[in-house]
């Protein structure tokens, strides 16, 4: 019998970034007794890293904007693989969710007439991102945190969930350990919301921290949930590349939104060289027109640096591969050049992009108001995730299990637009909380078999009980996996390498099952990494398997052996599920026809 504490809630939310906090707040507002589990301390989740802004058609900065334009932009950005219903709900509800933040104490930057200001971002037709300088995510998580702590939510900090507990096909709780002492906790709940974020830690160069090991994806998959769109991993075009210790740290798209331009070593603005057909009518033809767009000329079209992230990332890789990159394997991102157009540009840049200024100054010794930055793609976000019902966010196959934010899927399709993740987590965090509370209120009491708990405890303790000398250890095994994914399932993919990746992942899995971590149960990062590695292996297999299956290039998924977009492949999503024999099963799920009125909107928006 395992030693554990049992905690009962109506709704347990796993993950306390923006989506988890928003879900917990909503569930509590609906009268549920709510528990919130966070892997780190409260307020440290990756939402703090979001810089540029939150996308919502408030039409404060441009009165031509409305939910229909936002909807069409999101669908176009996602290359029409998105769940159109989620894209519709998102575009319609984002403005209210953002306004609500102000009622909870957020202080966003203002327009001259005192409303929330909005900035330009890639793939958004009009300036749409409400923001605070370049620290919007911090403002959001702090607002939700400071509001949330007064809503009667039980917060469990530095607690990691290792398994979902089931009653038949219904999810009824979670098994977890606390970092401090390694004690086990069993959360019994009538509904469970996953809001665990992404999988960026599967790659070597990433903007994600240690926490983003695909926990929610893997927990749900093991519990019988479906994963969808896992081949779509977003490589943000601008991560830092030098010095090596900061490689992968995010450089906000806001730099380009404020007029930053991309140049190769010859000083050429290479983004003008290749405009994708979907965006030809929407993109500036000259640098002069691009600048007019940046400063708000409504007759100008956006500069090509503000094309979608998938496209910009690929163009950067092309420049580097063809020998036109910067000294450390990136390209140049230059915001200092705006001094030609703006008086006192140095103060302007420091005001608009304070944390970028700080980050480059402290970590790279570069003054971005005077010299260009070196940037290159970094693993940033996964569009794929747990397949959910669009309105309720409940898993398509596991009752009582909900997912919101990055670990859920559907809204972004093949590529996410910048700014749409912060609005995603507000809109669908709220919906997940609301429907989870409703599900809990309508459902019967929960039963959890003791054998399930004992099994979860045995599995969690296994790395501690095995011989620590049996393999290279959890950190090095994780490093092997990250190197593998970076090289064989990264920004450019092909059949042979993906097959090699899948074979290697299976081999790593068996080594991980043999590996010991050493040390005790008390705050032992080796043990934690060994447990997280299991989740990373599951999501890595999912990415590689789906990537091998999709024989075309679309959005963030680029195949060197199938370089074109294929119409047939645009008619379905790839869905993964654990088969009875434990293997990963893949199937093609046809996309339901877009509702006629939404089709009309897409047509109108051109």
């Amino acid at each position: 019998m395992s030693q554990h504490q049992i905690l009962e809630h109506d709704v347990i939310v796993i993950g306390a970034g923006g989506a988890g906090l928003r879900a917990a707040i909503e569930a509590a507002a609906k009268g549920a007794k709510v528990g919130l589990v966070c892997k780190s301390l409260l307020g440290k989740a990756h939402t703090v890293m979001a810089e540029g802004g939150v996308a919502a058609a408030l039409s404060n900065a441009d009165e031509r904007d409305n939910w229909k334009v936002h909807f069409a932009d999101t669908m176009r950005g996602g290359q029409y693989l998105n769940s159109w219903r989620m894209a519709e709900l998102h575009a319609k509800e984002a403005p209210d969710r953002v306004r609500e933040l102000e009622a909870w104490g957020a202080l966003l930057d203002r327009t001259p007439d005192g409303r929330m200001n909005q900035r330009n971002f890639g793939g958004h037709k009009y300036p749409r991102l409400a923001h605070v300088g370049d620290r919007t995510g911090l403002e959001m998580i702090r607002t939700l945190q400071d509001h949330g702590i007064h809503q009667g939510i039980d917060v469990h900090m530095e607690v990691t969930v290792t398994k979902l507990l089931m009653d038949g096909d219904r999810c009824v709780g979670a098994f977890a350990y606390d970092r401090e002492r390694g004690r086990f906790r069993v959360f019994k709940a009538k509904a469970v919301v996953l809001a665990t974020g992404g999988i960026g830690r599967a790659y070597l160069v990433t903007s994600n921290s240690w926490e983003y090991s695909g926990d929610g994806h893997a927990l749900a998959y093991d519990a019988g949930a479906e994963l969808v769109d896992m081949e779509f991993v977003q490589f943000h075009p601008t991560g830092m590349v030098w010095p090596p210790s900061v490689r992968g740290i995010l450089v906000t798209e806001g730099v380009r939104g404020e007029g930053g331009v991309l140049k190769n070593k010859d000083g050429r603005r290479f983004m003008f060289d290749d405009i994708p057909p979907l965006y030809q009518g929407q993109t500036a033809e000259t640098p002069e027109e691009g600048w007019r767009y940046v400063i708000g000329d409504k007759n100008a079209r956006r500069p090509p640096e503000l094309l979608t992230r998938d496209h910009v990332a690929r163009k950067i890789v092309k420049e580097v591969r063809e020998g036109r990159g910067s000294p450390h394997g990136g390209v140049f991102l230059d915001i200092a050049w705006i001094k030609q157009n703006i008086k006192d540009s140095e103060a302007h840049i420091r005001k608009k992009l304070p944390s970028m200024y700080h980050q480059f100054k402290e970590l790279a010794g570069i003054d971005i108001t005077k010299e260009p930055m070196e940037v290159g793609p970094t693993t940033h976000y996964v569009m794929g995730g747990i397949r959910v019902e669009p309105d309720s966010q409940m898993s398509t196959t596991v009752k009582g299990l909900f997912a919101a934010g990055e670990c859920g899927a559907g809204l972004h399709g093949a590529n996410r637009l910048g700014g749409n993740s912060l609005s995603d987590l507000l809109v669908f965090g709220k919906r997940a909380g609301e429907y989870a509370a409703k599900f809990a209120a309508e459902s019967s009491p929960v039963q959890i078999g003791a054998d399930q708990i004992d099994l979860a405890a045995t599995e969690a303790l296994a790395p501690l009980e095995r011989d620590a000398g049996a393999d290279v250890g959890p950190f090095k095994l994780q490093y092997e996996l990250q190197t593998l994914m970076q090289e064989k399932a990264g920004i450019s993919r092909e059949e042979k390498e993906l097959t090699e990746a899948l074979n290697a992942i299976r081999e790593l899995k068996s080594r991980a099952d043999e590996m010991g971590c050493g040390g005790s149960r008390e705050y032992n990062p080796g043990w934690h990494t060994a447990l997280d590695l299991q989740n990373l292996l599951t999501v890595s297999e999912a990415v590689a398997l789906a990537a091998r299956e999709r024989k075309e290039s679309r959005g963030a998924h680029a195949r060197s052996d199938y370089q074109d977009k294929d119409k047939t492949w645009g008619t379905f999503n790839l869905v993964l599920r654990k088969a009875k024999d434990g293997s990963m099963e893949i199937r093609r799920e046809p996309i339901s026809p877009i509702r006629q009125d939404l089709q009309d909107i897409i047509k109108e928006q051109g």
């Binding site: 780190s40 703090v48 890293m49 009622a103 202080l107 203002r110 702590i149 210790s245 970590l363 050493g518």
Partner: protein
């Protein structure tokens, strides 16, 4: 690649000691990189908190060569190279293990502070109009990443252990951003004086010096708040008229 000696505090609440590790320091290394290298190659169970590694989450606070700093924003090449680099946990908080401390007290203090209470929306669309100039003042304090380095360095907490009577700089800027929010209606002045103990601060400005976000904690937050407390509690005219006594907080 230079080899540098790091002396890292290893132990728990029952005690510990500095242990020596040799680290191959790569270009641009920050202290957190060195700690990660030790963790990956020499001591898998070395306990450390970190998240963003970009100075935005405030998790990796420690005392480096005795100074409270973020490990992710401290370049190794800017520290003296003729002596070992020491890395210790924040000393103002109870030790959990190695570089990890128990900072839960901070979360309890924050919860005791009256939350944001907005006025009714003043615009027809149900929102508020606020001037950029008016939001900039509280925005400075909202840059806080809750690294608690200001709490760590503050002698009222560090040396005098007045955790029960004194909320510390982090929470004074938290109150300041609420009090200076253009649409907040709450009144936290009596609370500042009576429970949050702002009077104990004697303006040594140590907190301002260590703030990795460069928030002017003392001049822009604590002093204006102290002035509000003094105006309210010690105004002789108000005293004569019998008004301005501390009111209940909610």
């Amino acid at each position: 690649m230079a080899t540098t000696e790091f002396r890292v505090w290893r132990g728990d609440s029952s005690g510990g000691e500095l242990k020596s590790y040799q680290v191959d320091v790569g270009p641009g290394y920050v202290v957190l990189d060195a700690i990660h290298q030790i963790q990956a190659e020499q001591a898998n169970d070395l306990a450390v908190r970190w998240n963003c590694k970009a100075g935005k989450c405030g998790s990796c606070s420690a005392e480096i060569n005795g100074s409270p700093r973020l490990m992710c924003m401290t370049r190794v090449d800017q520290l003296p190279t003729d002596q070992p680099i020491t890395v210790e946990p924040m000393r103002t908080f109870p030790t959990v293990k190695d570089l990890v401390t128990d900072v839960s007290w901070n979360y309890e203090v924050k919860k005791s502070i009256m939350p944001f209470r907005p006025t009714k929306p003043d615009a027809a669309d149900g929102t508020w109009r606020m001037d950029q100039y008016d939001v900039e003042r509280p925005q400075e304090f909202r840059k806080c990443i809750e690294c608690f380095l200001c709490q760590d360095v503050c002698h009222v907490l560090r040396d005098h252990h007045m955790h029960a009577e004194f909320a510390g700089p982090r929470h004074y800027i938290f109150v300041a951003q609420l009090e200076m929010n253009p649409i907040d209606t709450g009144d936290r002045v009596a609370h500042l004086r009576e429970e949050l103990g702002i009077g104990y601060c004697n303006i040594t400005k140590c907190c301002t010096k260590v703030c990795p976000e460069h928030i002017t904690i003392t001049d822009n937050a604590i002093i204006p708040l102290k002035e509000r407390v003094v105006d309210r509690a010690y105004d002789p005219v108000a005293k004569l008229l019998g008004v301005g006594k501390s009111e209940p907080r909610g």
